[in-house]
């Protein structure tokens, strides 16, 4: 049978053995350069060989095992979804989720990595019953069509005869060759041997390499007699509008359908959900990101993603059973089961992690450990200096034991402390502020308040202390009424008592992203151009509040009669 025509548009562009751990293979298909790399979880990525930032080849970048880092300005792209996870020049900002490298379909079978440049849909090559013996790839400067035609006359000299296409056999063992078109005048011959002959291993590989190299020199000599074809100009994907602009502000629950692949108790009163996509690839996320989960009882809740860089085939969240809650956690604990479907939002990151600190301290209280696990894994994976202090009621309350164990000496647990004990521990941990140190805090309100005030007392700059509250426990005072002017839209609206800015905006057709609805998550943050906000959120730090340049539109209001917003 004709091997070349049976594979449709799928073409082998590397051998599995070429794509070794922590390496970036440089490939090329029809003039299109490829960066091919295997993550530590085994997944092979085939990407356009070009950083979205300055176009530098990603094949000279660094494969960290979970991310590919551009050599030029350090932009990081995640395994599998190719989303940009970090921009070192903007360490305090989360990169827009829409910055995503161009990926090509990947299929690994028969010791080869396959891809194609067309639309997906054709069947990928099937795996043979046994892994074949893969030949050394032989590159040559000759047109792919000429090489394919000449190869039909190739004599492997192993007692095998040509049986059509690029398939040779002696009836028991067989040799299958493929021609990878690198460019108009550049090809690579790949192939493998199956059957008893393959057991000869190295000796056979040497003989076939000699035979194919001799063939290649002959084909190159013939190609030199012809005029050289012009190289195929590479096609660069258009940069999406979102890359230059802000991402769309229309997120919300319900956009993505996932299956609950596993539901596991990971500590006293804490359940972990592993969410996998029904189809396709989950959107990129960064450490610190959260998703909205639409629960079967109609409630929408926010949960931080626990999984670290590279774990891009799933989202993992941790949910604490809250007896006094409105029913969000109970719906998950008592009613949700493995196999159920859920609607979730795309991840948002309002708690971005700087990766350029000399030392990073993570303070987690109870279920507040969830974003910290992702952050600490990202730092630890790069061998960076960080420490996770985990405050919990007792050893049974320490969640995600395996992930904690992976942190090794970077983890310190503080168990069963009363408020005074917690304060003393926080004072000790935060005793030594330094210019290149960063602190991240997530946990119950009182612990956050204590950590923030201790940090301030002991001389930590506010810009070095990052926090995320679960919820806003303050009573919201919505008795004021005022005017908002939307500077970019040239619209003026009245906000009456009893309604939030966000509600008024939405009632007037302004599409606004929001998430928690209580001033804790930062999603509905808007720039203030004029006027004095009445801050009622728990997202902004004191400096940001005093600056009066941003506002959480879901809870905060105005002290002045008028606010001018950058909408």
């Amino acid at each position: 049978m004709d091997g070349a025509s049976s594979i449709g548009p799928w073409v082998p562009v590397a051998a599995s053995e070429d794509v070794v751990p922590r390496h970036v293979f440089q490939g090329k298909l029809s003039g299109q350069e490829l960066a091919i790399w295997r993550a530590d979880d085994g997944y092979v990525n085939v990407w356009e060989n070009r950083c979205l930032h300055r176009g530098v080849r990603l094949s000279i970048g660094v494969n960290t095992g979970t991310e590919l880092v551009c050599q030029y300005h350090g932009w990081r792209y995640a395994n599998r979804n190719a989303g940009c996870t970090y921009i070192p020049a903007h360490p305090a900002d989360a990169p827009p989720r829409t910055i995503c490298n161009r990926t090509y379909p990947v299929h690994e079978a028969n010791g080869l990595i396959w891809t194609h440049l067309g639309d997906a849909g054709d069947a990928a090559p099937e795996s043979l019953p046994e892994e074949p013996l893969v030949l050394r790839a032989v590159p040559l400067n000759a047109a792919p069509a000429d090489v394919s035609a000449a190869l039909e006359g190739f004599a492997p000299d192993e007692g095998m005869a040509h049986r059509g296409g690029l398939f040779f056999s002696d009836g028991i063992s067989s040799l299958q060759l493929y021609v990878q078109p690198m460019d108009a005048g550049q090809s690579v011959i790949r192939g493998y041997v199956t059957g008893p002959l393959a057991a000869q291993g190295l000796a056979l590989l040497r003989r076939l390499n000699t035979a194919l190299t001799a063939f290649a020199r002959q084909a190159e000599a013939e190609a030199r007699a012809k005029p050289a074809p012009a190289p195929i100009p590479p096609v660069y994907g258009r940069v999406s509008a979102e890359l230059a602009e802000m991402p769309e502000m229309t997120a919300g629950p319900g956009k993505i359908r996932v299956t609950v692949a596993a539901k596991t108790m990971v500590a006293e009163g804490i359940v972990s959900l592993e969410l996998r996509p029904l189809r396709g690839v989950l959107p990129a996320f960064q450490p610190g990101a959260h998703i909205d989960v639409a629960l079967p009882n109609g409630l929408v809740r926010q949960y931080s993603l626990v999984n670290g860089p590279g774990e891009t085939d799933r989202y993992i969240i941790g949910v604490k059973r809250e007896a006094q809650s409105a029913g969000g956690s109970l719906a998950i604990h008592d009613h949700l089961k493995a196999g159920d479907l859920l609607a979730i939002s795309e991840p948002r990151n309002n708690f971005p992690l700087r990766r350029n600190a000399e030392e990073t301290i993570f303070l987690a209280g109870g279920i507040g450990v969830t974003p910290m696990l992702a952050m600490a894994a990202a730092m630890a994976g790069d061998g960076q200096n960080c420490r996770l202090h985990y405050f919990a009621a007792g050893p049974d309350h320490l969640a995600f034991a395996e992930r904690l164990a992976a942190l090794g000496e970077r983890l310190t647990s503080h168990l069963g402390l009363d408020p005074a004990g917690t304060t003393a521990a926080l004072k000790a941990i935060l005793s030594d502020p330094g210019p290149a140190r960063q602190v991240y805090v997530c946990g119950p309100g009182p612990m956050l308040d204590a950590a923030r005030s201790i940090a301030a007392e002991q001389g930590w700059p506010e810009s070095a202390v990052h926090f995320e509250y679960f919820r806003n426990t303050h009573q919201i005072d919505d008795s004021s009424s005022f005017e908002i002017a939307l500077a970019r839209s040239a619209v003026t609206l009245q906000v009456p008592a009893g309604k939030s800015i966000l509600q008024v905006l939405r009632e007037n057709g302004v599409a606004m992203a929001s998430s928690c609805g209580q001033g804790a998550c930062g999603t509905c943050r808007v720039k203030v151009l004029e006027g004095i906000p009445d801050h009622q959120d728990v997202y902004l730090n004191n400096t940001e509040r005093a600056a009066n340049t941003t506002i959480m539109t879901c809870v905060s209001r105005a002290k002045s009669d008028r606010l001018v917003l950058d909408i």
Binding site: A14, E17, D18, V20, R22, H23, F25, Q26, G27, K28, E33, S59, I60, V62, T64, V69, Q71, R136, A137, P139, M182, Q186, V188, L202, L205, R206, N209, T213, D382, G383
Partner: protein, 214 residues
């Protein structure tokens, strides 16, 4: 104190810097303005090396020129393990010398193309490129079959040798002479291994393979 007559952009000088860094040897650098100053052709430097070539290593009264000789000297003088210049078997000594000779071929081809393209030297760049591709194809084939036998280095054995150091710079700088390496995947993997040798240092045009290295 050792003294190295050195030039930043020279791959041959980088060979000496690389092995000295890996072995943790302190030395003094004496910069010679090779381009655009052509100070290596002036009497002051010709008194040090009448051939007018960089690098030159001074160790007390001893003066050694030519990068391969300098590598062998550094290895014999500062590597008590004897791994970098193997004298354990005649095979391995012979293979090491063979690849030191091969590295001279890279200097005559890949480096010549780079000097022609980058610094305007009057060499036949196309002939140099064709010659470099012939060498790189042989090296890639050798390294591919080494990998199949569980060997990571040019000379068989557990550890790298001066042969790897000698061949590394002008392979890595080949693109500056218009010689892409996309058809040499085994060389690309080998170069990642060289970059992961503890103590590895970079030079302009050669990037690290891990984060956080200099």
């Amino acid at each position: 104190m050792l003294r190295l007559y050195d030039y930043d952009l020279s791959g041959n000088c980088y060979k000496a810097r690389l092995l000295l860094a890996i072995l943790g040897v302190d030395y003094e650098r004496k910069n010679v303005d090779f381009f655009p100053g052509f100070k290596h052709r002036e009497p002051e430097f010709l008194a040090i090396n009448p051939l007018g070539q960089l690098p030159v290593l001074e160790d007390g009264d001893l003066r050694i020129a030519q990068s391969a000789a300098i590598l062998v000297y550094i290895a014999r003088r500062f590597d008590p393990s004897g791994l970098w210049y193997p004298l354990d078997t005649p095979d391995r000594t012979g293979q090491t010398q063979q690849w030191l000779g091969f590295a001279e071929g890279l200097t005559a081809t890949a480096s010549a193309a780079r000097l022609a393209d980058g610094m305007g030297f009057d060499f036949d760049a196309d002939a140099a490129r064709a010659g470099a591709h012939r060498l790189l194809a042989v090296m890639d084939e050798h390294l591919w079959f080494q990998e199949r036998q569980g060997q990571g280095w040019l000379v068989s054995g557990e550890a790298p040798t001066v042969a790897d150091i000698a061949c590394f710079p002008y392979v890595m700088l080949s693109e500056e002479g218009g010689i892409p390496r996309e058809t040499y995947p085994a060389i690309r993997r080998w170069s990642d291994r060289v970059k992961r040798i503890p103590g590895f240092v970079v030079m302009p045009g050669i990037f690290p393979a891990i984060l956080g290295s200099q």
